[in-house]
Subunit: 272 residues, 2 copies
């Protein structure tokens, strides 16, 4: 899905909600555990319940990988099930030397390799340009580069002053990466817990989409993120995972997820 | 495998060679392609041929992931086949917020989860302490933190001056991480192409093992790395992947790999 189509979807659905599929076997409603693939059964119900309110889905790859080959199969089925008018993100935080990043790109972008064809993948910038380029070499696919993350450890390195003390490392990441790709192939991760920085990131990268985790369970404010980050084209994908997936632990989990997603979508409609 | 056992293995085998299992289906000898699991058949032959000369094996996870569930099965079989007196490294370069890093740790360290129980995993430092800690929470397991990598892109961020211009980012990573874990649970990745920096890293981290990729296909010098990095306990794991795996593309690939590994081991014996 390209920039124009994503922007159009946001305007049509009046939503920039991304549902994070952090599907944890230990948290699934009991009645699903007898299913041959309880993770997929859960995801299917969540997708059916939330597709009206969400423009993107973001499976968190760790949750699938922790189940070995079976988890990989649940991931394939989940990705195939996501409606084609939704943007799909592999939250994988990969990044390695060129030939290895090329294989990660193949794993997540080329359906003939591992059965997956995500629109986008999250990538760590630590190894620099040649670790990111192989993902950008796939036409029509996106890199979502970690910039300023939502966790406390973001202070350890991302906020170190660099470049003659004039800016922080995450700002250097955002500036340099804009010479690698345009806003039509590159987004940045900025945590909602860093809402005061979002206005600043928006100055540094006026047109790039920002993927914003950390609303909900991690405590970020949707209002502040939206006021600081929205652009005329949308410009935001705000992710919620646990607050939607586990809104109820009972047999009504899908209705509860839909209600939670609807509340977020309606708040978003007000900001658009 | 703990620090003492790894040090003892290095002394017993007179080797600090790590064989990187970057097993690429496209590069396998033709006669293996009819095997039900050609990747495992290749790895098995490589392990048999090199175990006498190597103290560690490092499957590069991208190569397995790019084959989907089948690749994951080849990885499980390969790890099970590596002799128990060898150190095993998942070269995965993971790192995410705490609950997600916890799932990656489970995937690679807990055999009951995804069938894998590596001794160590490579981790990216970009997200800071709380993204690394979940791996350290597994007693007896190791984190190998990216510090100064072997690729050209290492100049983009790792070599930025930080901390009042007194040091580079990779030096800050090495210093901070030493407050997270001792040399008995933490190693650093330093590329062989950065041999002049290895002496400096050795000053910053006198007892920590360094995992050194980039000898061989990437052009680093084993002599310079060894002179700058060895400690009385060993202190180095020098990785070679393509130069060993693809020493011959014919039916003699395993003998050619053994010969290449032996040359490296004998050079290492001279430096120990």
């Amino acid at each position: 899905m390209n920039y124009q189509a994503l922007s159009a979807a946001i305007k049509a659905k009046k939503s920039y909600l991304c549902v994070g599929l952090d599907t944890d076997l230990a948290k699934l409603p009991k009645h699903l555990l007898g299913d041959p693939d309880p993770v997929f059964a859960f995801n299917k119900a969540i997708i059916d319940a939330t597709a009206e309110y969400a423009v993107a889905y973001k499976p968190n790859i760790a949750f699938y990988e922790a189940q070995g080959p079976r988890g990989w199969e649940s991931l394939q089925k989940t990705l195939d099930y996501i409606p084609k008018d939704c943007f799909t993100i592999a939250d994988a935080k990969r990044g390695d030397i060129g030939n290895t990043s090329g294989l990660y790109a193949r794993a997540f972008f080329d359906k003939s390799a591992a059965g997956l064809d995500f629109d986008a993948i999250t990538v760590s910038p630590y190894m620099g340009h040649d670790s990111v380029q192989p993902f950008l070499d796939y036409p029509g696919k996106w890199v979502i580069l970690l910039a300023l993350t939502s966790n406390a450890g973001s202070a350890d390195f991302q906020r170190q002053l660099v470049d003659n003390e004039t800016q922080e490392l995450y700002e250097t990441v955002i500036e340099k990466a804009q010479s690698w790709a345009t806003h039509e192939q590159l987004m940045f991760v900025v945590g909602a817990t860093q809402a005061e920085q979002i206005a600043h990131v928006r100055e540094l990268a006026p047109r790039h989409f920002l993927l914003v985790p950390g609303v909900g369970a991690q405590g970020g404010s949707l209002e502040q993120v939206s006021k600081n980050g929205l652009t005329p084209d949308g410009g935001l994908l705000v992710n919620a995972s646990r607050s939607i997936l586990y809104a109820s632990s009972g047999s009504d989990f899908a209705q509860a997820a839909a209600a939670e997603a609807k509340v977020m979508q309606q708040e978003m409609a007000g900001y658009l």
